[in-house]
């Protein structure tokens, strides 16, 4: 009962405030809705059933893609990562992924989507408040005028666009967990991720994907404006910069600032359950079809191309990494095969909608070989990127951004009539790609550094030595992963 007094009363007050917002959602319709006169003909279609421009196939594909991208975070990434840590931290890693599914979703609905996709404020640094609390995103109905409206984003409801993008907002910070695994304080992780999502992810997503983003190769001109193209129209189909560079580079900063795990370099710290890692990798592969294929935002040939290119890049990455191990170390490992698949998936992410699937094979091979090498960097430079979030996502993402400028082709991009990539003779695109990657790296480094420094002094970044030795499962969450005995 103490709990009810403690929590429910003050809590419910806030809830009902929110509930009222949810409810009052219906009223703005009056302002925005067209008069009923618009459709005087017999039996006008209820927009709540079939809004204008609505396409069922596109909607189906985007619903599935959203589900697939959620599945990437958990069980996908959660298993991929948690298999790589020691047994005593298995829940710590899973919890980070799972909790972020809750946390980032709510933030995205409250203000994240607005910061990323609403029209420019701050000179284009981020979006404004137009979509705050999902205003203008959710369906509305006005009892007075009997007018209902379902806001659209192309051929799908805007709320579907919102939830699809939400899944990216979840997985991106979850990728960073790989760097600070086995030692970061859970409470600090939560605060860090909120701030990181707000100040790093949302702006970059805005630059790259919002209608007038200054890095958006598919810039949508404001009617009447003389500007019809972004200053640096970078190709980033599904998030090479937005997702992989920002997270991978921030991961490196985290690894450097937090320092090594206790006992690192002395005790062996082998993956405690490679079967999980392999299952996770396979689920990531499957989910990535939604990640890249869904980034077409419709069920069209572009989505098909992205799907095929994605699959072939993953396949080629698998062979390249495992093959490199086989040649150089005598044995192909399953961790190598899985890492190669992920490297291939990362590299094709920005490119999937603008390169041929055959180029996907080439890019996958390059990524497999380069990321294989990049995972040795930490030994040379002595930082502890526990699960190689930088080695795979930072390096692979940057590589992908650049190679997209090499392999992009007009053959797969609807509406393009000019040469696209270097191989088609257009050397300018690669400049845009480098600019896009560069600014993403800069904001990731600077932003993450500032956030970590502040949080370090305010609440501390690492768990106590005692807690780290005991493992995060028991010390942070009061649980054990496996009780087999």
């Amino acid at each position: 009962m103490r709990f009810v007094r403690l929590c429910l009363l003050p809590g419910l007050f806030g809830l009902f405030l929110l509930g009222n917002v949810a409810f009052s959602e219906d009223t703005p319709a009056a302002e925005t809705a067209a008069p009923a006169a618009e459709a005087p003909a017999a039996a006008p279609v209820d927009p709540r059933a079939t809004p204008k421009d609505f396409n069922g196939a596109d909607t189906t594909w985007m619903l599935i893609s959203s589900a697939l991208v959620l599945m990437m975070t958990a069980p996908g990434l959660a298993m991929f990562y948690c298999g790589l840590v020691r047994k005593k931290n298995v829940l710590g890693v899973m919890m980070q992924c799972f909790f972020l599914m809750g946390l980032m979703s709510v933030i995205w609905a409250l203000y994240g989507y607005s910061l990323a996709f609403a029209p420019d404020v701050l000179g284009g640094f981020c979006g404004g408040t137009d979509y705050m609390l999902l205003k203008g995103v959710l369906p509305t109905y006005d009892f007075a005028t009997k007018v209902s409206e379902v806001p659209m984003a192309g051929t799908i409801p805007r709320s579907l666009h919102m939830v699809y993008q939400m899944m990216f907002f979840i997985i991106t910070p979850a990728l960073i967990c790989g760097a600070y695994a086995e030692r970061m304080k859970f409470s600090t992780m939560v605060v860090f991720t909120i701030l990181w999502g707000t100040f790093i992810y949302c702006p970059v997503a805005h630059w790259v994907w919002s209608d007038q983003g200054w890095l958006n190769a598919f810039y949508i001109a404001v009617p009447g404006s003389s500007v019809t193209e972004a200053p640096f129209p970078a190709l980033d189909f599904a998030g090479g910069t937005v997702v992989h560079i920002t997270s991978g580079i921030s991961a490196l900063v985290c690894a450097l600032v937090l320092g090594k795990r206790l006992g690192h370099g002395q005790e062996p710290m082998p993956p405690h359950n490679l079967t999980y890692t392999c299952i996770g990798a396979a689920l990531l592969w499957v989910g990535w079809f939604g990640f890249n294929g869904g980034s077409a935002l419709a069920a069209n040939p572009l989505a098909v191309n992205a799907f095929v290119a994605t699959h072939l890049a993953a396949a080629a990455g698998t062979l390249a990494w495992a093959g490199a191990e086989w040649v150089l170390r005598g044995k192909p490992s399953i961790l190598g095969a899985c890492s190669g698949a992920v490297a291939g998936l990362v590299v094709i992410t920005p490119a999937a909608g603008s390169v041929s699937p055959l180029s996907g094979i080439v890019m996958g091979v390059i990524a497999g070989l380069v990321c294989f090498q990049a995972c040795n960097l930490k030994n040379k430079f002595g930082y502890d990127d526990a699960l190689d979030a930088f080695g795979v996502h930072g390096v692979g993402g940057t590589l992908g951004a650049v190679l997209t400028g090499v392999f992009a082709t007009a053959a797969v991009i609807p509406g393009k009539t000019d040469p696209m990539g270097l191989l088609e003779g257009n050397s300018k695109q690669i400049v845009n790609q480098v600019v896009g990657a560069g600014v993403s790296i800069v904001i990731a480094v600077v932003g993450t550094l500032i956030l970590l420094k502040i949080l370090d002094s305010v609440m501390g970044l690492r768990v106590s030595q005692q807690d780290e030795l005991q493992g995060l499962d028991v010390s942070q969450h009061g649980e054990e992963g496996y009780i087999f005995l």
């Binding site: 062996p268 170390r329 930490k378 030994n379 080695g391």
Partner: protein, 112 residues
């Protein structure tokens, strides 16, 4: 009463159990262990990291027998568990001062 502890290879367990039973041993207790000795470990590689695994999976038997059966039990184990390759394992014999069967409270040889 003696306790025989034998560290043996995993895949020999079934054979050793059968041979000991045939030799008249009535019970034993088995533990999963990891052993380090002359047998060379192997290398494991995980991305950038390479480990030498020195502790190899073995199985430890504990067999309590009357003094007069020690010889036969030990010989049986040696005969069946041997492959001739390094890593076949060891046998340790200890004196026991008492043995009790929990179910009945019997002690000594009749407790086995």
């Amino acid at each position: 009463m003696k306790k025989i502890e034998a560290v043996i290879r995993h895949y020999k367990l079934e054979d050793v159990k059968n041979a000991l039973t045939a030799a008249g041993v009535d019970g034993m207790t088995v533990t999963e262990v990891r052993g380090f000795g002359r047998q060379r470990g192997h290398k494991e590689m995980y991305r950038g990291a390479e480990y030498t695994v020195d502790f190899l999976p073995k199985v430890k038997l504990e067999i309590v027998v009357p003094d007069k059966m020690v010889r036969e039990a030990v010989d049986t184990i040696i005969r069946v568990a041997r492959t001739g390759q390094i890593g076949d394992g060891k046998i340790f014999v200890t004196d026991l001062s008492e043995v009790i069967r929990i179910r009945t409270g019997e002690t000594g040889e009749s407790a086995l």
